[in-house]
Amino acid sequence: MLDLTTGFLLTVLSGTALAAYVCSAAGVFVVRMGLTAIGFTMSHAAFAGAAFALWAGVEPVAGALAFAVTTALALGPLAERARLRAEVMLGFLFSLLMALGFMFLAMLPGEAASGVALRIVWGSVFSVGRYDVLYLVALACALLTFDLAFRKELMAVLFDRRLATASGVDARAFTYAILVLTGLAVALSLRLVGGLLVFALIINPASTALQFLDDMKRVLWAAPAVGLATSLGGLLLSLAWDLPVGSAIIIVSALVLAAAIVVSPRRRRAPVPPVAT
């Protein structure tokens, strides 16, 4: 077991809890609105951005933020106009961003840089600093305010964007806001969970909550609760057995989701869709 100081442990615990909250709160929107492909691409854009920043000698979080938010703003209109199908995004942009990320990491000079690079790929508790926690606090407050202030509009957009627009809600503006907030959540969680795994922190808690709850109002608080529990569980496993923190968190959340799918009362009640012939 690692020997850690109280200050460091508090930083890591709060960083993990906040990353879990922002990712799983954004995840409810991503999962429900079918933005998974865009979110997945954004997480890899954040990874490529962080690698680029390392190569350029800039703060990795700044690079991750710039790439993720730019991707969100660029992909939103493209997806909206149905010019870019989800599989095209995954096949083209995902591989391109991964290639760029690994290329920038390969171009880093020196042995010391390889450790930093690996932390961007897999995440590490040792990467999380006080400023990361402060950024995450700011984003968590922004997400909470966004949710509470625009709850009725968000409910309408989550149910059906077209119907929301018909009722006078600016569904496009809310969709873009959700994409940008998701990009920020991905970028700011990168250090802890790593560029390859952060998206699972977005998808898994929301998907787990949706296995049990019929009421979106409850899903909106249950998903962050699941994210918090699985992330802290993963962190404790990581600290106890000296495992990569990102991997430990994602394995725990994936196991919880798998169990939820198996025991889901909602899934048992739902009729099986017909098989396409």
């Binding site: 009725k152 409910m155 149910f159 119907l163 009722s167 006078g168 009421d215 899934r267 739902a270 009729p271």
Partner: protein, 249 residues
């Protein structure tokens, strides 16, 4: 008083298409009037409704609703215009309660950064009761039948408290009894609210007796526009609906 809905030389061309879905449409609907737009499949009826509420931008011409230019004030217009879509489907796993879906209809009317108040809750409950769905208000929408979901969409639009209601085949999925109940509820609401209704139907038999006017669309153009009974009795209607002519004969 100015008309509630005014279309002047309106055309809509879908992206990537060359032929307009509707063209040269001039239409005026007075406050409190009930106009039914009929036409065969693909004649541009739904396009016309979505040009009125601004969900589809007019490629040519001008649309004015309640004195507002739809092109520049689409959001404000839609907050005061109810719209029941032709085909709304719910997934069995959709995590939304029926009552919450009806409340969503009022989101634009309540306004940004405002919470639903008592009057909003009452409007929602009234609409749900009018559509005979009070027992189902707490049920997830994924568990409603197609007919119940359609009545829920009508309740949602009525709860919005619109000045203009756009109805796209609103009773298509309902059985005879449910259709009669929903039609009576709609008429009761319209009489009380004094709202303007523009309704679309591909079926002349579905034109309600309470309609004031019938507009016939054919290949995106208005080919007839007149009082209900006069249009239904017209020989011109046979060209658009040959079966209707046969039925009348």
């Amino acid at each position: 008083m100015a008309d509630a809905v005014v279309l002047e030389g309106v055309a809509v061309v879908y992206e990537g298409e060359r032929t307009p879905a509707i063209r040269d449409v001039d239409l005026r609907v007075a406050h409190g009037e009930h106009v039914v737009v009929v036409g065969p499949n693909g004649s541009g009826k739904t396009t016309l409704l979505e040009a009125i509420n601004g969900m589809l931008p007019a490629t040519a011409g001008r649309v004015t609703v309640l004195g507002m230019d739809v092109a520049s004030e689409g959001g404000r217009v839609r907050a005061r215009v109810g719209y029941v879509l032709q085909d709304v489907q719910a997934d069995p796993m959709d995590p939304f309660l029926a009552r919450d879906v009806v409340m969503m209809g009022r989101a634009g009317r309540i306004g940004v950064l405002r919470w639903p108040r008592r009057e909003d809750q009452e409007a929602v409950d009234r609409s749900i009761a009018a559509m005979g769905l009070s027992q189902l208000a707490g049920r997830p929408v994924g568990k409603l039948s197609g007919g119940e979901l359609q009545r829920l969409m009508l309740a949602r639009a009525m709860a919005q408290g619109p000045d203009v209601m756009l109805l796209d085949e609103p009773l298509a999925h309902l059985d005879v009894d449910a259709r009669a109940h929903a039609r009576a509820a709609l008429e009761g609401w319209r009489a009380a609210a004094g709202a303007t209704v523009v309704e679309v139907s591909h079926d002349l038999g579905g034109v309600p007796a309470t309609a004031d006017r019938i507009v016939v669309l054919e290949e995106g153009r208005v080919v007839m526009d007149g009082p209900r009974d006069a249009v239904l009795a017209s020989d011109r209607l046979r060209a658009t609906f040959p079966q209707w002519g046969a039925l009348r004969a």
